[in-house]
Assembly symmetry: C2
Homo-oligomer: 189 residues x 2
């Protein structure tokens, strides 16, 4: 029997959270610089054989993505506890565990990596905001917390292209369908 | 000025297609074995240091995913033409180019890879079915074409976990919302 050999990347499973601030009716998302997205936005002629890129020619902002609060499961805690940790570290919200509702578990990738991601939904209030968030500097994270109103979410979803992972598209669609405050003009579309 | 160094995977951009057979009111999807998904489904104690896995203990079916018809852009053709090629190779449908409607362009990954994926929607008929599909053997593809009715799609979307990439979840949600034949009991939820 012949061995089958594949090249693949083994990644930790991950969690993500759709955070909705009910006090101000905004979704709490994160913007961050993603090296792989940046590199893929540079045309081939701008990539040197060594992998070097001239950042004066290709501005770093093309590598900035919009994402859900998320993180890899690198601790021996429950998925809800992991999501709770990320909400605090990245977005500065101290959210009770009972607020985390399971949305869906799926594969975040199927080609090179095949890791499992679990998505939660959690409603938060201004009272739970205890720090600025922004991620852990020690982990090299540079995260900007973004608040987005319902109208802005709908405008974003109407754009033909979005520098965001498809997981965010699923999350926003799910949110608009299941959780967004009812609005007769929306349900009519 | 210090160089910043990152490890990342550079992937080709890709296309995917939501294929809907209007004659029989079924979505046309693909099932395939994904080594990375399989490997990630094996608990750590089942993975040898060499990366070997005992396939008699961990059945290969845990690596089978449900996905949209899709492929990487490895030819100098338009994205629509690439989607057309994949619909033929994978699903056996010879679809006119004008049938491909753009749904959304996004990043299929943001962590390790940052490649762009463009999703299309195309309606097909039984007349367009010219081969069995199944992918190109020369490219090592082993693809099963799956037809799924609307009720089955809704049941799938109701499951808490799904061995599918999140792109499929977005696609199915988008389809149910924008294209599924109207059904008053559905729009009321």
């Amino acid at each position: 029997k012949k061995d089958k050999i594949w090249d693949l990347v083994s990644l930790h499973d991950s969690v993500s959270v759709i955070l909705f601030n009910t006090d101000r009716q905004v979704l709490v998302l994160v913007r961050q610089f993603r090296p792989a997205v940046y590199y893929n936005s540079v045309p081939e002629e701008g990539r040197q054989a060594s992998g070097h890129v001239d950042t004066s020619k290709y501005p770093g902002c093309s590598g900035i993505t919009l994402e859900l609060c998320a993180g890899i499961v690198d601790k021996k805690v429950s998925l809800e506890e992991m999501a709770q940790l990320e909400a605090l570290e990245e977005c500065g919200y101290d959210v009770p565990l009972k607020n985390f509702d399971h949305v869906k578990t799926f594969r975040s990738g199927v080609g090179v990596s095949g890791d499992r991601q679990t998505m939660f939904y959690a409603e938060v209030t201004d009272k739970m905001k205890v720090t600025e968030g922004g991620g852990l500097e020690a982990e090299g994270e540079l995260i900007e917390v973004v608040e987005m109103g319902l109208q802005e979410v709908k405008e974003l979803m109407a754009k033909p292209e979005i520098t965001a992972p498809v997981g965010l598209l699923f999350a926003l669609t799910w949110f608009l369908q299941h959780k967004a405050p009812s609005n007769t003009t929306t349900t009519a579309t």
